[in-house]
């Protein structure tokens, strides 16, 4: 427990000093997105890595958060700080409602159902033109403001987003180490065994699904207020797959793994400019390779690889 806390403090410090090295550069902007994607990856990881329930529709919850915030602050001129929790609560409530029937499904069926849900949400974004602006998007979403500071630059947004992302991280680490976290892992391994031990598996799955949706919605609101422009293409099926890739690459059931996956997948396209249409091929390839050769993700795969190399070298000298 103490070790976890130290690790988290070290990580937070690293995140807080990072801007000193990238200040003013274009990379700052990318690092803001790493923060948003880290929140999303952690949200999905709580569901997939801990509770063992797949979702291919998380881009939908992310989008709902963004659109609710966007519409409430532009059309209804609500304060962004009010719109954000309103969006999160609404999305959480909706996820809880749909969670009961959807989480009765397992494995492939759950994957297909959540995928369908994500696509329905995406279609609604596109079709409710009067409300969302349809395919041409929603613009002029206000920036967040706090004590006279307007979050309108990359550096300010960096601290805003990462402040939230670190809070989500700390919360998730605590959750994973708590009684709830252990119950989730029990559900992951065997739902029936968990129920025999007195875990209300059905309710727990719905709760974690709703929690995951709430975190995604918060990330969506932050995204809307930092970008000030949103359009449906950011919340489609491809983005759900991208999130899945982040979680799998980083490592299922590891919070820092989600950060690693999010960072890698957000930074990768920046280094692969020119190949911008082909990044989707790289995601596909990464997914296949990771599941086949490193099912534990980078957080477990790299140390294992390292140990193997050390062993090889060790025996080679002896």
């Amino acid at each position: 427990m103490k070790r976890d806390l130290l690790l988290f403090i070290a990580f937070s410090l690293l995140i807080m000093v990072a801007p000193q090295f990238f200040e003013g550069g274009y990379l700052m902007n990318v690092l803001v997105f790493v923060g948003i994607n880290t929140m999303l990856a952690i949200a999905l990881n709580l569901l997939l890595g801990y509770a063992g329930q797949i979702s291919l529709g998380h881009a939908g919850f992310f989008g709902l958060g963004a659109y609710l915030s966007g519409v409430l602050t532009t059309t209804y001129s609500l304060n962004p700080w009010v719109a954000m929790p309103v969006a999160a609560i609404t999305v959480g409530f909706l996820a809880g409602l749909i969670g009961f029937p959807i989480l009765k499904l397992k494995g492939h069926y759950l994957a297909m159902a959540t995928l369908g849900l994500g696509i329905i949400i995406y279609i609604v974004f596109n079709e409710t033109v009067e409300l969302t602006g349809g395919p041409s998007g929603l613009s002029a979403i206000p920036n967040l403001q706090l004590a006279g500071i307007i979050f309108d630059s990359d550096v300010k947004n960096y601290y805003l987003i990462w402040g939230m992302a670190l809070a989500v991280m700390l919360f998730s680490i605590n959750l994973a180490n708590s009684r709830v976290g252990r119950a989730l892992r029990a559900v992951h391994d065997s739902e029936i065994a968990a129920q025999v031990l007195g875990v209300n598996a059905r309710l727990l799955k719905v709760q974690i699904f709703a929690l995951s949706a709430v975190i995604s919605s918060l990330a969506g609101s932050l995204y809307a207020h930092t970008m000030t422009f949103i359009s449906p293409t950011s919340f489609g099926f491809n983005f759900s797959i991208e999130l899945l890739t982040m979680v799998v690459i980083g490592g299922l059931g590891s919070i820092y793994g989600s950060f690693l996956g999010a960072a890698l997948l957000t930074l990768l396209p920046e280094f692969l400019r020119g190949a911008n249409d082909y990044d989707i091929i790289i995601y596909g390839g990464l997914l296949v390779v990771m599941v086949m050769f490193m099912p534990g993700g980078l957080v477990r795969g790299i140390p294992a690889l390292f140990r193997k190399v050390v062993e090889k070298v060790g025996t080679g000298h002896a």
């Binding site: 797949i54 696509i119 329905i120 596909g284 099912p295």
Partner: protein
């Protein structure tokens, strides 16, 4: 005016429904033999159409030769997919299988984008495009081709599964893989077979629909998902109930698009999918099945 319109929507719905049925049967065959939902199923539909195009334009083959050529190449991709992605998997948990078939489908789609570009391509109809009047509605010869070819494939399927040794072995695998293995059936070969058959069927669906709707590297996603809806409605059977599921879906979608709103056309299929999964996960015609632990 209403009746003619409804007839028109129903007729065109039936032909798209037949396509969904073929894709859905492809899903079911693999699912029954292996317990895997192959998320890459739609990509074979795309491959069928685009490979036919290449056979026609690059190899200058006549249509009757281009089609089998495309089917064979698609089936070969199906074999590769099973060999390279599914068989070597060390931990074949459902989630890993979902992820790997999704990864595979993205990879196939991406490679198709590299090979054929992002444009939509047209394939000439099999026998002209002179409309045929039926009642107050008109259909194209291609619609008839779709219905006829689907019917033939369903019959071949039936004969294969019920009257050949390998088809019966495949059914045995779907009932119980271990028991099938114990009586000497090579289960792994049957798995490979199921991938060959369903990728070939997907390709056929992609070929016969391409003259109507055009084709592009990304048509597989939606068609694949709709095919899955059909299979779910049919309770993952590889027989008539999935066919009915596909036709039902096609007609409902076409009527919904025509009478309600075309923007929500795709949403209709997914709402049906969710409703079926919530209310009758065993399919419209299936009996409830209790799960063993």
């Amino acid at each position: 005016m209403q009746f003619d319109q409804i007839l028109q929507y129903t007729l065109s719905g039936l032909s798209t429904g037949a396509i969904y049925a073929l894709i859905g049967i492809g899903f079911s065959i693999i699912y029954n033999a292996t317990g895997i939902i192959n998320f890459a199923q739609g990509e074979f539909v795309m491959l069928g159409g685009l490979l036919t195009l290449s056979c026609l334009e690059l190899l200058k083959l006549p249509l009757w030769a281009a089609i089998p050529c495309a089917i064979v190449v698609s089936a070969a991709v199906g074999i590769l997919f099973e060999r390279l992605a599914i068989r070597p998997l060390r931990q074949p948990t459902p989630i890993n299988l979902v992820i790997i078939t999704i990864g595979g489908s993205i990879l196939i789609r991406g490679l198709a984008m590299l090979l054929w570009g992002k444009d939509t391509h047209a394939i000439p109809p099999f026998s002209g495009d002179e409309p045929i009047a039926i009642g107050g509605a008109t259909i194209l010869p291609q619609h008839l081709w779709i219905l006829a070819i689907t019917l033939i494939i369903i019959i071949i399927n039936k004969v294969y599964f019920y009257h050949t040794i390998s088809g019966k072995a495949m059914r045995a695998c779907s009932y119980n893989r271990r028991a099938a293995g114990l009586v000497g059936i090579d289960v792994r070969r049957m798995v490979l077979f199921s991938f060959i058959i369903s990728s070939a069927m997907g390709a056929v669906a992609g070929i016969i629909v391409a003259p109507l709707t055009m084709t592009a590297y990304d048509v597989g996603v939606m068609l694949g998902l709709k095919g899955f809806c059909a299979a779910i409605i049919g309770g993952m059977s590889s027989g008539m109930s999935t066919v009915i599921g596909g036709l039902l879906l096609g007609v409902l979608e076409s009527l919904g698009a025509g009478l309600i709103s075309s923007g929500y056309k795709d949403a209709i299929a997914f709402i049906i999918l969710l409703l079926i999964l919530f209310i009758r996960p065993q399919g419209l015609f299936g009996k409830a099945d209790s799960e063993r632990v």
